[in-house]
Each structure stands twice: as structure tokens, then as C-alpha cells.
């Protein structure tokens, strides 16, 4: 292990986006002046009659949710993207805009209002994974849709206003910024090396074992060398697969197991239902050759020191670059101890 990385300020390169993160390890040694208090973990009922995601309840637009048994998907009642939105372009001097069409969906992970992914079994989570596959394919087959973004905002601190276990899928005509960056970096590496960028990285990490949290036959959970958030993690398939539809047989269950392992560890870390935004980056559905893509799921959790102390990505981070205090390597140790 390179100890300089644990002792001195440096920046690390994100091979997937081509951007840098500033790491200031010594800063983690400063006395903590912010708040640091115990959190009351509210226990939720398994059914809440005022929840618009619970089975059998009526949503704000009058639609009634079916009495679903495991997973339930519907089109977002206040979608940021729509299929019947007008097509137009603005090219007026330095003002440049273009219309964007899309489909936004909500996916309930379980009818049980009290649960989160961390409380579900791998077999239950696998139902979510299978639905993600189905949605990726269906949406991807729509001519209008060239990219499908699957994500979850968990916890009030991550802008989630309903604690019922659910995620979202925003699919659209063009590739968003973050996907563009990863597309470029992966394409370049693949054309130069005839090998997947993330697969090559994974081989290197599996040898070093410094940043690995967990692995099973098909998946690895690790903290990437360039992680930005204090406890950011990534689930990577060992096989080179461009998209989640490529998972076959036991792979979906093994992916579910990886999700289960990391979300449970998160909940134990600060003894709280751990907030995060998670998302899956995978091949666009634009009909082009996307074999340079190696899909992966990332977790971006905001907490830093305790259930109530988060990392603020503010001034320097907004104007300069992301910055972290605790190193990826020390975060790995903390999470590994909780498996």
C-alpha cells in the first residue's frame, strides 16, 4: 500500500469520467466541531394509509395502486420528461438549447412500507433486479429512448419525500453529461486495448485487495480508487457485460446478494437507515455498438462521521472539484468490519 496516499494531499484520477477528486487525508484528523447526536430510528408500519405508494392506495391523480405482491412500476405522475413534449431547437447566437423527450417511472421495491433494500432478502431484491432488466429492455426498445437511467434516492437528506421503498427510472432521447463522459473514456480504452476499462481495473483491484469489500462468483463490491463520497461504493460484474440485460441465470441473484450485503453494512455503519443516491450506469440504448460499456451500480451516500454529520459538497467542490477527507482505503476497512 502506498502510504503517501494516506498522509498527504493529492488528487486521484477517475478513469471513468476523466475528472479528478482532491483528497486531504490529514484533514480527517482535525477535531470535529459539528453536531454529533444519536438518531431516533423511527419504526414505520408495514402499511400506511396516507402513503401514495402502498398497495391499494389512491395516488394524487386519482389512480389506484393494485394490490401488488413484490414489485410495482408506474409512470411518474409529475414526470420531468414526457413523450408528447414538443420538439424544438434554439440556436440563437450563444444560446443553445434542444428539446428532450423521455419517460419517467417509479418502481416500488416492496409492498411493505416499513422496509428498505437493506431489510429485504436477496430473493426479494432479485425481483427488483428482474424488473430493472424488463424496464431497461422495454424502454430501450422505444425509438424515442436512447438512454435509461435507473436510480434511487433514499432518505430525506437525499430529497426523498416518501420513505416507502422505491426507486425511479428516467429514460430519455439523449445521453446525459455523466453518461457521455463514461462513454468517451470507456470507448477510448476499449479501442486501444480491446478490453473493457472497468474489467481491466477490476483485475488490478482483485490482485491488490486494498479496496475490495465483498465478492461472490459474479460480482465485486469495492470502493473505487477515485471515490468522491466518504463511503461511496460500486458493484461491478466480473464478466464484461455492457448492460444489466446481460445477466443470466444465477447472476441476478448474485447481484441482489451484493446489493443486500452493501446496504446492510451501510445501515450498521452509523446504526441508522443509511441515506444514499444509487444508480446504474450502462450501455445507451441508441442502437450503436456499445461493447465498450461495462455496466456498474454506484452508491453515493452523504454521511461522513455519524448518522447526523454529512459531507457538504459546497463552495470549493462546486467551483473547483470534489474533495474528500477520509481516504477510500480507510473507508473500506470500516465497511469490511461490518460484513
Amino acid at each position: 500500500m502506498n502510504t503517501d496516499l494516506q498522509d498527504y494531499s493529492h488528487k486521484r484520477f477517475n478513469i471513468l469520467t476523466g475528472e479528478w477528486v482532491l483528497v486531504s487525508p490529514h484533514r480527517a484528523k482535525r477535531p470535529w466541531q459539528g453536531q454529533n447526536e444519536a438518531v431516533s430510528n423511527e419504526v414505520r408500519p408495514t402499511y400506511d394509509e396516507s402513503c401514495y405508494l402502498c398497495a391499494g392506495n389512491t395516488r394524487i391523480n386519482g389512480e389506484v395502486n393494485p394490490k401488488y405482491d413484490n414489485v410495482y412500476v408506474f409512470t411518474n405522475d409529475f414526470a420531468a420528461l414526457q413523450t408528447d413534449s414538443k420538439s424544438f431547437e434554439v440556436n440563437d447566437g450563444l444560446l443553445k438549447a434542444q428539446s428532450e423527450q423521455g419517460i419517467c417511472k417509479v418502481i416500488c421495491f416492496s409492498p411493505d412500507h416499513s422496509k428498505s433494500l437493506a431489510d429485504m432478502t436477496p430473493v426479494e431484491i432479485e425481483q427488483v433486479v428482474l424488473e430493472w432488466q424488463k424496464q431497461y429492455e422495454e424502454l430501450g426498445n422505444n425509438d424515442l429512448i436512447n438512454y435509461v437511467q435507473i436510480f434511487e434516492n433514499k432518505g430525506a437528506v437525499m430529497g426523498c419525500s416518501n420513505p416507502h421503498p422505491h426507486g425511479q427510472i428516467w429514460s430519455q432521447s439523449t445521453l446525459p453529461n455523466e453518461v457521455e463522459k463514461k462513454d468517451t473514456q470507456q470507448r477510448q480504452f476499449y479501442s486501444e486495448n480491446q478490453n473493457s476499462l472497468l474489467g481491466t481495473y477490476l483485475t488490478q483491484e482483485l490482485e491488490k485487495k486494498e479496496r475490495i469489500i465483498f465478492e461472490n462468483d459474479d460480482f465485486v463490491v469495492l470502493i473505487p480508487f477515485w471515490a468522491v463520497w466518504p463511503f461511496e461504493t460500486m458493484i461491478v460484474p466480473k464478466k464484461h457485460q455492457p448492460c444489466i440485460s446481460d445477466m443470466k441465470d444465477a447472476e441476478t441473484l448474485h447481484f441482489a446478494e451484493a446489493i443486500s450485503v452493501i446496504t446492510k453494512a451501510y445501515d450498521k455503519l452509523f446504526n441508522t437507515s443509511f441515506p444514499y443516491s444509487s444508480g446504474i450506469h450502462q450501455a445507451p440504448t441508441n442502437g450503436e455498438n456499445n461493447s465498450h460499456w461495462h455496466w456498474h451500480m454506484s452508491f453515493y451516500p452523504p454521511l461522513l462521521r455519524s448518522a447526523t454529520v454529512k459531507k457538504f459538497m459546497v463552495g470549493y467542490e462546486m467551483f473547483g472539484s470534489p474533495q474528500r477527507d477520509i481516504t477510500a482505503e480507510s473507508a473500506v476497512k470500516m465497511l469490511r468490519n461490518l460484513l
Copy 2:
């Protein structure tokens, strides 16, 4: 005015970074389900004996602040960047890192603990501007420093733990991500047009008047066409100036007036001390020809609907691209009404 931009989902191009923001105007029409409560505006004393930024008080490392009269600058006691940090490089397969040196400073805007920039007069704010100039020059003259990032985190929601009016300056050896992007875009435009990108944009906006909030002889306050945050604004010098040191004579006072006008309007908007992160982007101090740079100051405020309802940049925004509901043009109207 192009009404499509007010009615349909679209993305707008940021000419300074080369990235896109997704705008979903119809989403602002949805009923608001989050909290929306009055805020008690705590009145602070002009001096707080427990504040480590007040004049005459002792800081955590034992140093005593002088009895300063207007502005006071010191080196951050827990600096993320240091000058005596070890130099090293990691180039190990796909692991790429390099050490980063720098100097981090804290700048107190006023000895008066109770104030913010919005409560200060342009003449008082000008003292801050003059100090920013001095710091930019001094730090920039240091061989170690190639970029000087001036910024302020205001408000607890922006990670600020001390309400005493203050900002920060992080200066470092290399160019951070956001600066790299703006360097590239400005350089390209300048070499193609022999004209500053932002200056050309400003001319266009001054003709249209759709996004202008305020102007005086030397500065314009506007919401850029590609703004991300609901009430994001930018102060741009009318003259093509690469850095803040180029301000002469009355310009520093006119800049201070622009800061005063926008921060006062912010405070009125939701009748609260308006939180934001602000920052100045300007020419690197790397000794190269940076005449393509046109310096500017941006405000990124998180509030969306009220003093207690902020915009969350979470799942889609982290994995896809920034997204906003209220358009730049409607935000301009709200702010203009408060001048």
C-alpha cells in the same frame, strides 16, 4: 422570448463548461408536497465571545485574532492544502494520482458577527473586494500556486458552521476540474473569434434583456441561460478582464454594489438570510497567456420554493445531469421585482 423554453422539457448548453442542464418547466406546476414553513430569523449579537472569527478571540490552535476593523485574513487552521506537503506521483496501472500543494485561507468580511454581505454597505464590501485582489496577487505570485479559488459558503445548509461573515480562498498547484472546463471553452472561442466568450454572450444578453437583473457602469448581474440552481446568478464585468486584479478605480466599488444588490434581493426573496455558495472564476496564475479568460462571480443558492424548501441535486442529477424546474426567465422576474 421563445415560449417553448417556458413550456416544454429541454436541455440548455453551458457555453463555459461545455455541459448541459435539463430543464423541466411544467414540473414547477405540480402541487408542492414538501414542507413549507416560516423561519425564525435568529438575531445574532455583533460580538460573540465563543466565535473563533470575532476580533480579539482565541482560535482553536491558540492564536489570537487581532482587533481588526474591516477585513481580516489568516491561514486556515485545518487547511485541505498545504505548502510543505510531500511531492509524489502514483502511476500504477489504472491507479493514477498526484500530490497537490496549496495554501488555504479564511477571510473575515467584517468584525461585526451579526452581519452578512447583504447587511453591509457597498463601501464596506469594497474592502473585501480589495482584499480579494491582494490575496489573488500575493498567492498568484507564489511559484507553487497556479490557481486561486475564492469562495463563500453561506448558511448552515451550505455546510457553514460559523455564521460570522467570512469566505475562503483555496489556492493550489493545478487547475481544478471546473476551471479546466472553463479554460478549454474560453480558449477555444477566443482563438476562433479574437473575442471573449463571456463578453460576446454579455452583448447578446444586454440586447435581449430577458435575463438581466441589474447593471451599473461596469457590471451586469444576470441569470445565465444555462443556470442550474433555481436562483443562480452571475456578476460579469462589462470590460473583458481576465482577473479581478484588472479592476481599477471605481470598478471595485461598482463590483461591490453589484454584490450588495444581488445579496439584498436574495434575502428579500424568501424573507430569510439566503444561503448560497458563491465563487469567483478567473485566470489561472500559471504564468501562461490567459487573455481568453473573462472573470466572473457566481452564486449557487439551494433554495427553491421557500426558506425551508431547497432543490435536491440527487439521483438523476448525480448520475445524469443537473436538472431544474423553474426556468431562468421566471427566476429573473422574481428577483427583479425585489430590487
